[in-house]
């Protein structure tokens, strides 16, 4: 799952650094992801993992790192 998340970040997060240089808990916003870019990441994750983030997850913290995104996706896909 983490590799897929990183691939999506590479394409949509418009980071100032290479996403592979970031640790799983590295702050994506610090690395240059803008609010608009995080929306594109969110929509790409929904497409790739066939999930829909509920309103309570549409906030900054959920998309702040690879680990945070993995936690959110794990929760959304746990009953499959």
């Amino acid at each position: 799952m983490k590799d897929q998340i990183r691939a999506i970040l590479k394409e949509h997060a418009r980071l100032a650094v290479d996403v592979d240089a970031l640790a799983d808990d590295g702050d994506l916003y610090q690395a240059g992801m803008t609010s608009h870019a995080s929306v594109n990441v969110m929509l790409a994750l929904e497409g790739a993992f066939d999930v829909e983030f509920p309103d309570r997850m549409l906030r900054r913290g959920v998309f702040e790192s690879v680990a945070a995104i993995r936690d959110a996706l794990t929760e959304l896909t746990k009953d499959r």
Binding site: T34, S35, H36, S38, V39, N40, M42, L58
Partner: protein
């Protein structure tokens, strides 16, 4: 007046007393001389309060360079609110078709092409490209007023499609910009209360489009990037924003390459008074005839 709130009653009252003149399109109306006098008086009052701030005055027409608009990312956030200017650029043949379609009541939009202009969506947008380069160490402060357009037809009188905003824009290092915003937030509440209006300030969000917009709104709130001074005008529970404060962090600094004296990306913030909304708040709370307003309020506006 004052105890009960109703959108329809306020609209009927404003129309009945001649203060606003309906033109047939929701959210668009004329203003009479009394309305305009109150608006100008409030504008002057703000100028008196801010007279020692050292702002540069600028005035732009209510149209914006489409390229600036495209760079600003407005369409990423608010595609539903934008107004783009189209015009005719055809020849005789297309003109004949245009005329005949208009007179026949048929659609004619396809005979228009996009111009280089959009309607100004927020009063501050035209100023940012003028900051490109390095700003002085203390930053800059600009004072503007402009008509803005929002595509949101509504019968609710405070939700207009075209209205005036008195806007101040601060550019400089982050701490300078935030301190200025905080100073004005207090000032904004004080100004409204001094006019007998029950104002308060609160964290707010812009009406971003769609599901992605919900995330942008939540982010904006979490980071406390937007505040509003609100007053109950048509509803007690949902008071009306009469003044709005946006801290853009380095959003415009990045887009328009604005640097501070030490070479870092500049921050910007703006605040805008919704001039018609302030007038409507005054009419709602003090009555439709300014001659009968409380003496303390009149002294501020007619010094």
């Amino acid at each position: 007046m004052g105890a009960t709130y109703s959108s329809q009653e306020l609209y009927d009252g404003l129309v009945g007393s001649g203060l606003i003149i309906p033109v047939g399109v929701p959210g668009i109306f004329g203003r009479n001389a009394v309305f305009e006098d109150v608006l100008r008086r409030f504008d002057d009052h703000v100028s008196r309060v801010a007279k020692d701030d050292g702002a540069e005055k600028m005035l732009f027409p209510p149209t914006l360079d489409r390229k600036v608009f495209e760079k600003s990312e407005f369409l990423d956030s608010f595609p539903q609110l934008a107004g783009t200017i189209f015009s005719f650029s055809g020849k005789e043949k297309e003109h004949a078709e245009l005329s005949s379609r208009v007179h026949a009541g048929e659609s004619w939009g396809h005979l228009q092409t996009m111009t280089d202009l959009v309607l100004t969506p927020a009063a501050c947008y035209p100023v940012y490209p003028s900051f490109t380069g390095t700003v002085p160490e203390a930053g800059r402060l600009v004072d503007m007023q402009n008509w803005v357009f929002r595509n949101e037809p509504s019968t609710e009188p405070t939700r207009m499609q075209a209205f005036r905003v008195r806007e101040f824009v601060r550019v400089g290092p982050p701490d300078v910009v935030v301190a200025w915003r905080n100073m004005w937030l207090e000032r904004g509440v004080t100004i409204m209360r001094s006019l007998g209006l029950p104002a308060k300030s609160e964290v707010a969000n812009d009406p971003f489009f769609g599901r992605g917009g919900r995330m942008l709104a939540a982010t904006q709130r979490e980071q406390q990037l937007k505040f509003e001074v609100t007053i109950p005008v048509i509803s007690e529970e949902k008071p009306t924003a009469v003044c709005s404060f946006n801290w853009h962090q380095d959003h415009f600094g990045k887009i328009f390459d604005i640097k501070t004296a030490d070479g870092k990306l500049a921050n910007t913030a703006c605040l805008g008074f919704g001039m018609e909304r302030v007038c409507m708040a005054l009419f709602k709370h003090h009555g439709f005839d300014p001659k009968t307003w409380p003496a303390a309020v009149r002294e501020k506006l007619w010094p």
